[in-house]
Amino acid sequence: MEAFLHMGGYAAYVWPAYAVFFVVLLIDFFAPNLRRRRVLRELHARMQRQKAREARKAAQRSPSDDSGPTMTPLDS
């Protein structure tokens, strides 16, 4: 095992080369996974907001008021 790690005296070259290979590919592999989660989560949040907005509008239009026109809320 010690001899294996020693790499015939070239350990200082062989292992860093392998480290670069694996680190770069790991970053390449996980970056799009993170991006995919972010895209889906943002889209989900946007859909939730849209749903809430539609629910609020529907509640306003419901016939609880018969006092004529009211002011539209500013946050719509």
């Binding site: 294996f4 790499m7 015939g8 005296g9 070239y10 070259y13 062989v14 860093p16 080369a17 392998y18 670069v20 290979f21 770069v24 590919l25 970053i27 390449d28 592999f29 970056a31 799009p32 996974n33 991006r35 995919r36 895209v39 889906l40 989560r41 943002e42 889209l43 989900h44 949040a45 859909m47």
Partner: protein, 250 residues
Amino acid sequence: MKWIPLWMHQLSSPPTFYRFASVLRPWCIALALILTAVGLYGGLVTAPADYQQGDAFRIIYIHVPSAEMSLFIYGVMAVAGFIAVVWRLKLAESVAMQSAPIGAAFTFITLVTGSIWGYPTWGTWWTWDARLTSELVLLFLYLGVIGLYHAFEDRRQGARAAAFLVLVGVINLPIVHYSVQWWHTLHQGTTVRLFGPSKMEADMLWPLLVMMLASKFYWAASLCGRVRTDLLSLESGKQWVRALAEREGR
């Protein structure tokens, strides 16, 4: 375009490709991991040390597959880029643009591992010879494609503009490949040959071939992952993406 088979036409539709990529990806990851384990065992443990370079030669098992991938991915990117420029297929644009970061990663690995290998064997980290310089130009091409793509407000327009740059840059591929024959260079010539006998002992050769295969599967997995994410954000208004976000976005 009647000559395009039906399955190809269907596969180019984003929701179909999304499902296809999601099924294919885990298999490619598994094969890449198994082949890498086998290849590294062969390359680091069972292969004998080189009579001239000692154990330093073992860097070949990551350097050569990466170098081959840096050219292979550019070729794929050029084919997809051609389709994107001519037929404006959304999937082709995505494949071309998502290939660039993977290609850049492999080119970077090639340059760094080559440099690390060069110091004990040639006595220098870097030299401006044909092979090294043209590979560096390849890295700049990849970075240029990524930069140009992101410089546009409209992503599809950016993809087509960058695809054009990809096509211009194809001229660099034969230069990288034949540089060791056309010019006197410090870099050694081709060791592994597709046609005719390779100039390497079988004990040393098979791990290299296994690693080259493993890198192909890795590339397929990485490309599937990137393209499917890209399709999600390109098609974020569409019903299939909204249904997916409903299920997986919370």
